[in-house]
Amino acid sequence: MKFIETRALHEWLDRLAQEMPLIAPTAVGPQEKAPGSRNPAAQGQQVFYREVEGAAQIAWDFTRTALSAREHFMPKTETLFTIETGPDGKAVLHETKLAQPRVFFGIRPCDARGLRVLDAVMLGQEPADVYYAQRRQNTTLVGLACPQMWEDCFCNSVGGAPDAADDVDILLIQVEGGFAVQVVTAKGERLAAGMGLQEVERLELPQPKLNEQFALPTQQQWLASFNDVYWQRVGDRCLSCRICSYVCPTCRCFDVRDETVVTPQGERIVRRVRAWDSCQGVNYRVQAGGANPRANLEQRLRNRFYCKYYYVPIDYAADGCVGCGRCVIACPVNIDIREVLQDLARREPA
């Protein structure tokens, strides 16, 4: 069993940040806010995965970040290429620079697990998305196991665990005086070589406290419930915002558009932009000609659950939900995915 002392880890991270981009959980935003607010986001600083300059900036005691790790593999916005006017008056196409090697430190096991769905969608069939593939290849994931399942977490009900090492290159588990280190992949080996790990005989690994597990609806139950009035009732409350999709580690819908922008110098540039999109938005499913098969709110809301639990497993053989609990917390009207799953699981197959 490998071990690293806290101080050594910090020193390593500080060195690493000098060499390459280091992404890690860090607190963002003004500190003085509304601590008592009913909106958790407004209570104080929030933790995001962001590029940091060293260990001191890293938020060590965090539950989960406000946004998942997805934003570093599939950014909210990315310019795929630009077309500018060259010196000779002809159009010149500039491709966006591709990603450099970097370390993603402190990723939670559930967030890492979420990348499986993104991988399946972006890389699983030809042609693979080159932007995503480059970022994925050039990133070494150093996971940080959750010491417990937090309130609203349900990874154990969807096949995950707070200390699962399956989807990271290296997993750190906090123990007395430092961290137990599990090097999982070859990429992890290469990174771990510079960490200065100690080999210890035996290490008492803590047993993380788990939340009560619940049963998921069966495929038959999903099928039988598609036209149920239940979705209208849940939809009653839904605001049709996109918080749930944007905080989700496995949501990956995007939109691509070509835009014309004028620079402060007065040059006109055309750029092709890819940005997140969400099935919860009313425009999402509009077809050329104006028809909208998901014009009604409850249809869009229903899609979210079917996507995670029915379509993705069938289409990509992956678990569509990792149980991170972000949507549960962030939903302003308390549409609780666990409640929906349990409601459906209780139903008699029709």
């Binding site: 509304a34 996109r242 302003p332 308390n334």
Partner: protein, 287 residues
């Protein structure tokens, strides 16, 4: 109060006077959330206390439009706080809600509380304790009223040097993820397709950059001029904790100052931006 609401809801549902009662309930994890009650037997779910700060009027717009052409609009009862009533007034003024399709269960408001039990900031500057319009009033209004809003929070930003203001807003807007929860939660944002989301990227593109986000938030606030009732719904739902009310309250403050003390939702006159034809001399920005 809770019993009054439940009894009224039961009566309305039993008589068939309304199809649905929108109120508040406690969810399975203890959070208060909007409740939609269709059966008289379910009225026990309804509660009302200082945690019920959501503006349920938001839900009326879509319920007051026929789902299919020619379909009759069902009547809905809704629990309305004084602040929510102002939003409803705006919706009535702008033909988004048919008055005879809404049964307003007004509640005498004692103010909302934060999670830690302290009074919500907006309630400390609200001097309305009884809704401006209702069909039935539940509860007794408290005697002590809050002091009318002085916009101290807005004034604090106004007092900052220009560059600090810009830095402040750039910092806040940077976190925005364009999830549009603010817009969706807002009772008076009811466009069928928001102009920030047009397919042709007319005003803003799909990118999540400062210009797009600034445009969206400034224009959303501007579209609320003379219409925002400062219900705080936008800020309350923001997953990034952006103080959106500060923008909307600035507009509300300026509208009141420049346009004869107009306060949205307090009269049947729609926003002065399209109704008022006087007062030019009071606007100092004209050189």
């Amino acid at each position: 109060m809770i019993e009054d609401i439940r009894a009224l809801a039961r009566e309305l549902l039993e008589k068939g006077a309304v199809k649905c009662v929108i109120g508040y309930e406690v969810g399975p994890t203890g959070r208060v959330r909007p409740a939609f009650v269709y059966e008289p037997g379910e009225v026990e779910r309804l509660i009302f206390d200082g945690r019920c700060d959501q503006n349920l009027v938001t839900y009326l717009t879509r319920r007051n439009k026929p789902r299919k052409k020619g379909e009759e609009v069902p009547t809905t009862a809704v629990v309305v706080k004084p602040c929510d009533a102002r939003s409803l007034r705006v919706l009535l003024n702008e033909h988004q809600v048919q008055r005879d399709k809404v049964y307003i269960i007004g509640v005498a408001c004692h103010g909302m509380q934060n999670a830690d039990g302290t009074p919500e900031l907006r309630c400390t500057r609200c001097d309305q304790r009884v809704p401006l319009l209702y069909d039935a009033l539940c509860g007794e209004p408290p005697e002590v009223l809050a002091v009318r809003d002085a916009y101290e929070d807005v004034q604090q930003i106004e007092a900052l040097p220009l560059e600090e203001r810009l830095a402040y807003w750039l910092g806040e807007l940077d976190r925005c993820i364009r999830c549009y929860a603010c817009r969706q939660a807002c009772p008076t944002c009811f466009c069928s397709v928001c102009e920030a989301e047009r397919d042709d990227s007319l005003w803003v593109g799909i990118a999540d950059r400062i210009p797009e986000k600034a445009f969206f938030h400034i224009i959303r606030a501007f579209h609320q001029a003379g219409r925002c009732t400062e219900c705080n719904a936008c800020e309350a739902v923001c997953p990034m904790g952006i103080p959106l009310s500060l923008i909307n309250r600035k507009i509300a403050k300026d509208v009141a100052q420049m346009m004869g003390g107009y306060r949205a939702g307090e009269s049947e006159e729609p926003t002065p931006l399209v109704t008022m034809l006087t007062g030019e001399e009071a606007i100092d920005e004209i050189h």
